[in-house]
């Protein structure tokens, strides 16, 4: 046999620059349709309402948006997490209709969002 890879161990503390959020949008009436761009615009306006033009000026991505279930995965720089989260919590209306955002899971690792044991239903 040839040479095996030599052992190497690296420990990263707080190395992830992003946090990822899995969220649900809950609308009062079910007939409203919105796409990923509408959804992002909704969040941006919520951020502006809470933190103003300057405070809301940070980037985030909508990595995934499912139009039929209104669930989304967001990616945000660590420095923007608290602001984004608080704006989502206080988001209360879409086109003058009451709505809410439920945060299902938050993690510094995107991979963690693909395995949430709290979703295990055995009945």
């Amino acid at each position: 046999m040839g040479e095996h890879a030599s052992y190497e161990r690296l420990v990263f503390k707080n190395a992830s620059v992003y946090h990822y959020m899995k969220i649900d949008l809950i609308l009062e009436s079910e007939d409203k349709r919105l796409n990923a761009a509408h959804f992002k615009q909704l969040i941006i306006s919520a951020l502006r309402d809470l933190y103003g033009e300057i405070g809301a000026a940070f980037p985030f991505d909508v990595l995934k948006f499912e139009e039929d279930t209104l669930t989304a995965v967001l990616r945000v720089y660590n420095s923007g997490l608290v602001k984004l989260w608080s704006a989502l919590t206080l988001l209360g209306s879409y086109h003058s209709e009451p709505c809410a955002v439920r945060v299902t899971q938050v993690s510094p690792f995107l991979l963690a969002l693909s395995g949430n044991s709290r979703e295990l239903e055995l009945d």
Binding site: A5, Y51, D61, L81, K83, S107, L111, A112, G115, L120
Partner: protein
């Protein structure tokens, strides 16, 4: 202006590079010590259907049981201890109990019983424990560890009686439990069921799902280059990419796109298809170890890919993560590991934990 809003809880990522052929390789220990596994997801590039030898390993995964309203002391009774706990590896974890608000219990295959309880229960219980590491100013949660293999805890003895008295008469701790027992022969099927026949006991098999993805971008991997300092993408970027693939997200966005600017890390190559195979349930480390062994065999035949990956997610609400290191939830309770297995039997192992967790081993 908002600087104090910019802080985040800590997270840890440990990356190891080694070879399965190295005598001192610790991959098996890492797998064996991660006791409560919720989900395994395997990504095989350039593969359309799951090879039969892999699906047969998964079909052979141990059954597990969901037992309703089971008093904890039942699991520590003399007979159960002798028949089940001390003779094989028993895994028990309370089901639908949240580690950040409820009382959570676990029995490890080593014979240790771990109770993570709130302050009131702890004080009523009167068993010796210690304050959780992840309390705020005031301890609100305590962890009691009882080692049933300890000689001083032999049934009939003073300490054993005290434990049983606390769990039976002081506070009757009851919960729904997920239970599984690893036995090589499988000759003891139904042993758990017969011991717990008074309770509603449901036999479950791990559930399996398969997904085929087409035309995706993939970062080019070099087994020797874990650190990735020579080129551009680091382990975080690779794990992020793996996340986008397992969750079927678009990884080819323009930098100017309004919705998402995520892009597969460079240097990249394209993949015509990939298979994502997931198994969910209470999965035992022994079974995961045999799956890992089979995955290594995948490269015995010529393949179009030079690597594949296996990610194992732990239960977010388990009181421990690796070994008996205390685990908490904080924001997500994440504890998972990913093996990237290369053709030449080299591997990368990434182990990640969130804020309320010790450093992976």
């Amino acid at each position: 202006m908002f600087t104090n809003l910019e802080k985040c809880p800590r997270n840890l990522l440990v990356c190891e590079k080694s070879s399965f052929l190295n005598e001192k390789s610790r991959h098996d220990i890492h797998v064996a010590k991660h006791f409560f596994n919720y989900k395994v997801s395997i990504l095989i590039p350039e593969c359309g259907i799951i090879p039969s030898f892999l699906s047969s390993v998964v079909n052979g995964f141990s059954k597990y049981y969901l037992v309703r309203d089971l008093p904890l002391h039942k699991l520590l009774e003399d007979e159960f201890l002798e028949k089940v706990v001390k003779t094989g590896s028993l895994y028990a974890l309370s089901y639908k109990t949240r580690i950040d608000q409820d009382n959570t219990f676990a029995i490890l295959p080593t014979g240790q019983v771990i109770l993570s309880v709130d302050k009131d229960t702890y004080e009523e219980l009167g068993l010796e424990g210690k304050a959780s590491q992840y309390n705020h100013r005031q301890p609100m949660r305590y962890v009691v560890t009882i080692d049933m293999t300890d000689k001083s805890l032999a049934p009939g003895g003073k300490r054993y009686k005290r434990v049983m008295w606390a769990l039976k008469e002081k506070v009757q701790l009851t919960s729904d439990f997920l239970l599984a027992r690893y036995s090589i022969g499988g000759d003891e099927e139904g042993l758990l069921q017969s011991c717990l026949s008074q309770y509603s006991c449901k036999e479950l098999r791990p559930s399996v799902s398969t997904q085929t993805l087409r035309d995706l971008l993939c970062p080019s991997l070099d087994p020797a280059d874990l650190r990735r300092d020579a080129r551009s993408h680091d382990p975080q970027q690779f794990l992020e990419w793996l996340g986008t693939v397992t969750m079927d997200m678009s990884s080819n966005n323009e930098a100017t796109s309004f919705v998402s600017t995520y892009c597969c890390p460079e240097p990249q190559s394209s993949m015509s298809q990939a298979l994502v195979y997931t198994v969910t349930g209470l999965l035992l480390p022994e079974d995961i170890h045999s799956l890992l062994k089979e995955l290594r065999r995948y490269f015995d035949e010529p393949r179009f890919t030079s690597w594949l990956s296996m990610t194992v997610h732990g239960f977010a609400d388990s009181p421990i993560s690796w070994g008996s290191t205390e685990h908490g939830f904080h924001k997500g309770g994440e504890n998972f590991y990913t093996f990237v297995i290369f053709k030449n039997q080299d591997y990368w192992l990434h182990m990640a934990t969130g804020a309320n967790d010790g450093c992976p081993p």
